[in-house]
């Protein structure tokens, strides 16, 4: 299986990565080389084998639903690239246009 440049651009959008044309070309080559190596896994007949998501047989680890200490607002915001009035500042997501 080989990845096209268009697929690389689609995956980059899914991964939220802005790539240059050179990066798209180079990543296409890299991904095809890596996928070429690991492609044998697609050929294995594993229809009767159950998947392993987790190496240990641990299930449904829960804790009591209690209020516990957590970061203060100031601590949570301390690493924010842009912060105002006790909140993270982000570009407008909804609305906009003439009303802004």
């Amino acid at each position: 299986m080989s990845i096209s440049e268009e697929q690389v651009r689609h995956v980059a959008l899914l991964a939220r990565l802005k790539l240059t044309d050179e990066e798209v070309a180079r990543l296409g080559e890299d991904l095809n080389s890596i996928l070429g190596h690991i492609d044998t896994i697609r050929q294995l007949d594993l229809a009767d084998v159950p998947p392993t998501a987790h190496a240990l047989d641990v299930v449904n680890e829960t804790r009591a639903d209690e209020v516990r200490p957590c970061l203060s607002r100031e601590e949570a915001l301390a690493n924010g690239p842009e912060v105002a009035e006790g909140a993270f500042v982000i570009p407008r997501i909804v609305g906009g246009g003439d009303a802004s």
Partner: protein
């Protein structure tokens, strides 16, 4: 000044308790060694002298008031830079987290410090732990103390080099596919990947959550056991940490290995790409085990042939999901002139991530994307079952398994940097252990006759068999009598 690199953790603790020297003098010695050598080695992203001295003062106060000292009192420790510690940056050797200040403490780090250790710094690594050489750091590579032109392995290369060069007595790394054991092998140190779930990962920046595990580096097996005593155990903040009765991993180290069933994994040993000197060293180690009274036999793990493929699907898939949190909103690098929120995400991430991180995120996103999930991720999880079953059947016959840790000794900086696949092959012996969730230790099995560089032996145990693995390692260590001092350190001693 005392030479801390010649003292074990227990000798440091006891020397402080017996008032032969103070914890402050130990801190000065370790920081002095960093000052002397780290310009050449670059094991550290950040040196934390103030934190080390503050911790030393608490130990010296305890001595003055005749309080019994904890097991790692005054022991200099170094931490991989993906573990949070208040008062330090946690950068993951990435531009995107270059200025990130830890907001809380990683549990394993907290436990090590509660046992009396002195934090001397945060160690360089491959960015987000993606790599096997520590060349993928945004802040430049770490150099191997055995040969400064060579890599120390990775991704925990800074933690390995810090111990090797005597800049810390114990360090912590994290291991997703070999990132503790492979650098241990390449630097002649003892390096332990505990069983999945043995050590809490809370506060360690996640790479692949079904594989990641924190573990120690030290010069001796006994010190790794002491470190594991300190950091292991259930943590309510990590649901994958396992609640088991407390164990003293040092208790059985000296019991010997008479009758221990040791399996040499022959198909892995014969794998293409394994250097002759490495293969010879494992065969010699097997003879040593037999001479020590172990019952040595042979075993194969045929499904591990799919280990690399399964790992390079599962690892990047989980990583692409974990790294979605780096979006330029709550922390990390953010472009200043974004048109809209999508543009902010896409350019902040592209500018903040290095090339290998982008490669893995792309690979993982592809493997999870519509139409490919079953072909790649689903198949990889099934192959993982086969690998797990291979280990289960091998552990019916054997108590521990022997393989090389790395197929080669330390390679030159730049040698594999342009070929991702060649780099990925560095971990063929370590990856299957993570996929199955087992524990394993790497320790030196000798020096390569032609290059004089250390070779590492991997001893693998089943889930929660750390005591057995460490006992086997301790017996071998005593029989071998390896000197872990690299030439760089011999020159200044």
């Amino acid at each position: 000044m005392i030479d801390v690199s010649r003292l074990t953790a227990t000798q440091i603790r006891d020397g402080i308790a017996d008032r032969l020297f103070t914890a402050r003098e130990v801190a000065e010695a370790a920081l002095g060694r960093i000052e002397a050598l780290d310009g050449q080695v670059h094991a550290f992203n950040q040196v934390t002298a103030e934190l080390a001295y503050a911790a030393a003062e608490r130990i010296d106060d305890a001595v003055a008031s005749d309080v019994v000292l904890p097991p790692l009192a005054g022991v200099p420790v170094a931490l991989k830079d993906n573990m949070n510690l208040l008062g330090t940056r946690t950068t993951c050797s990435s531009r995107i987290l270059e200025n990130y200040e830890s907001a809380y403490d990683c549990t394993a780090v907290r436990r090590l410090l509660d046992a009396g250790a002195l934090p001397v710094g945060k160690c360089n690594m491959d960015e987000f732990a993606f790599g096997s050489s520590t060349e993928n750091s945004a802040f430049g590579p770490t150099h191997n103390p055995w040969d400064l032109e060579r890599v120390p392995g990775g991704s925990s290369g800074g933690s390995a080099a810090a111990v090797s060069a005597g800049m810390a007595t114990i360090s912590l790394g994290s291991d997703t596919g070999g990132s503790i054991r492979q650098p241990g092998s390449l630097t002649g140190t003892v390096a332990l990947k505990p069983t999945y779930g043995r050590v809490s990962r809370y506060g360690c920046v996640a790479f692949a959550s079904s594989l990641d595990q924190i573990g120690p580096f030290a010069k001796t097996v006994g010190e790794c056991a002491l470190a594991l005593n300190a950091i292991s155990g259930k943590d309510p903040m990590d649901a994958t940490s396992v609640d088991r009765p407390a164990e003293d991993f040092t208790a059985t180290l000296a019991e010997g290995i008479a009758g221990l069933r040791v399996g040499v994994v022959t198909d892995l040993l014969e794998a293409e790409g394994c250097e002759g000197a490495v293969r010879d060293s494992v065969h010699a180690a097997a003879e040593t085990f037999a001479a020590l009274g172990a019952e040595v036999g042979e075993v194969e793990l045929p499904s591990t042939a799919h280990g690399l493929s399964a790992y390079y699907i599962i690892g990047p898939a989980e990583a692409s999901s974990n790294l979605a949190r780096f979006d330029g909103i709550r922390y990390g690098h953010r472009v200043g002139d974004a048109d809209d929120v999508l543009d902010l995400y896409m350019r902040s991430r592209a500018e903040g991530f290095g090339p290998e991180t982008i490669r893995r995120v792309m690979l993982g996103t592809y493997a999870l994307s519509a139409g490919y999930y079953d072909a790649y991720y689903g198949q990889a999880q099934k192959a993982r079952t086969l690998i797990k079953r291979d280990f289960e059947s091998a552990f019916e016959r054997f108590d521990v398994l022997l393989t090389p840790t790395s197929p080669t000794v330390a390679f030159k900086i730049g040698e594999r940097a342009s070929d991702p696949l060649a780099m990925y092959l560095s971990d063929i012996y370590t990856i299957p252990v993570n996929l199955a969730g087992n524990c394993a230790v790497s320790l030196p099995s000798g020096l390569c006759p032609s290059s004089g560089l250390p070779i590492g032996l991997q001893i693998i145990g089943t889930h929660f068999a750390e005591s057995t693995v460490l006992r086997a390692a301790a017996a071998f260590e005593t029989a071998l009598g390896f000197d872990p001092t690299p030439p760089l350190v011999r020159e200044i001693q």
